[in-house]
């Protein structure tokens, strides 16, 4: 699984990096940013899903790995 943030949709609610700090971080603006290349290890898949549901702007998406 891979995660992606749609930068145009993100307005900086910060739910993604609060809920899944292993996968997301905040930039200077407080907007979300994917950590590393965005691939999600199996043990963090639930966290990735939580972030996807929590984002009020629907800016976080989960994609199949690859």
């Amino acid at each position: 699984m891979r995660i992606l943030i749609d930068a145009a949709a993100c307005t900086g609610h910060g739910r993604c990096y609060s809920l899944a700090p292993e996968l997301f971080e905040d930039d200077e603006q407080g907007h979300g940013r994917v950590v590393g290349d965005g691939s999600v290890p199996p043990e963090l898949q639930a966290a990735a899903q939580r972030a996807e549901t929590a984002c009020p702007e629907r800016a976080v998406s989960l994609l199949p790995a690859g």
Binding site: H13, L19, E28, T53, C55, P56, E57, R58
Partner: protein, 401 residues
Amino acid sequence: MAHDTGGAAASFYDAAPMAFDRTEGWAYFRGPGDVYERDGLWYLTSPQAVRFAHQHPEIFSSAKAFDSLGSPVPLIPIAIDPPAHVRYRRLLDPMLAPRVIGGIEDELRRQVREIIGEFAGRGSCDVMADLAKLYPAQVIMTLFGLPLEDRDTFIAWTKVLVGSSGGGVGEATPEQMEAGLALFSYLQEYIDEKRATPADDMLSRVLSMEGEDAWTNEEILGLCFLFILAGLDTVTAAIGFVLRALGEDPGLRARIAADPQLTGPLVEEVLRLELPAPMTPRVTTQAVEVCGTTIPSGAYAFLCLATVNRQDRDHPDSIDLGAGDRGHMSFGGGIHRCLGSHLARRELRIVVEEWLSFIPDFTLAEGVRPAVHWPSGTLHYESLPVIFPATVAASPVGGAA
């Protein structure tokens, strides 16, 4: 963040059964459908409808909607439409980003402990008067770099200015003009001082921006005014709501005590159910179809964040700590997403943590049935008397971090 309800015509709005029970109140607004009109006001109540409005700020204008606040200075950035809006947010977002709030957390915590320590040994207090109305004002003063000794004067001015029900609606009264002038000249003094000798605070940082990014004096005053309007009553309200929830429910207190990690989800769930600013106003710039209904051009519309929060849930109307990370719209969405959300969340978490460390057990005073004032653009309790074991020492029980 108050809004004009359209005066005498707004009887549907005024008649909502909101004062004692928001579950009933928001069901009332949800009842007629996703998008509907009553007494000349439009209501958008479903997630799809509100999301559409958030994503189309060029159609759902804030500039026209916030006219009614009658502010003498432009309300930056809440009353600014695209394309100008993005410039302000680009400059402001970094100032209230989580990492900045993290930097002042220790100071904010120290202040809460001081405030709670004042009454913890007393056995009773009014949550609103003794904590909820004081703390958010101190936080804004801390952000601006203003001396906390001026707190009570500062609060007195802002109270008159914003109005007791949270609404500076329509024409300002002479009293409001006077308080506004006093506050502005007070702020102006510090603006001049910080312009000359910048300190490590938000005002100084805005003032030090140069060239294309430089703000006019009027813009800076507008920003200060908006922080006062948006950042005081809202947090005051939320402190009252979260402490009521805890005071009424020993089981909830026990769960938080057993697992302090649940403080975050608790704050989120209370925000989801009890919105300090439950509906945000917009004015349409053109006719637009939303969820199958056509809203005319120039319509005054409410985005009902509160009804959106109670849809598509297993337990829509009660605190569900397990769903505390499902997200909600209490801070709005789209380009006007609350600039202060990171600060507000931190304030609330610190308040809950410190309150429970000083006062782990408490209940509402006998016979108290807290009510919010309605109709009003912002919802909050005027007072919330609570009692707790008088034996509690004036120092924290567990010694929180």
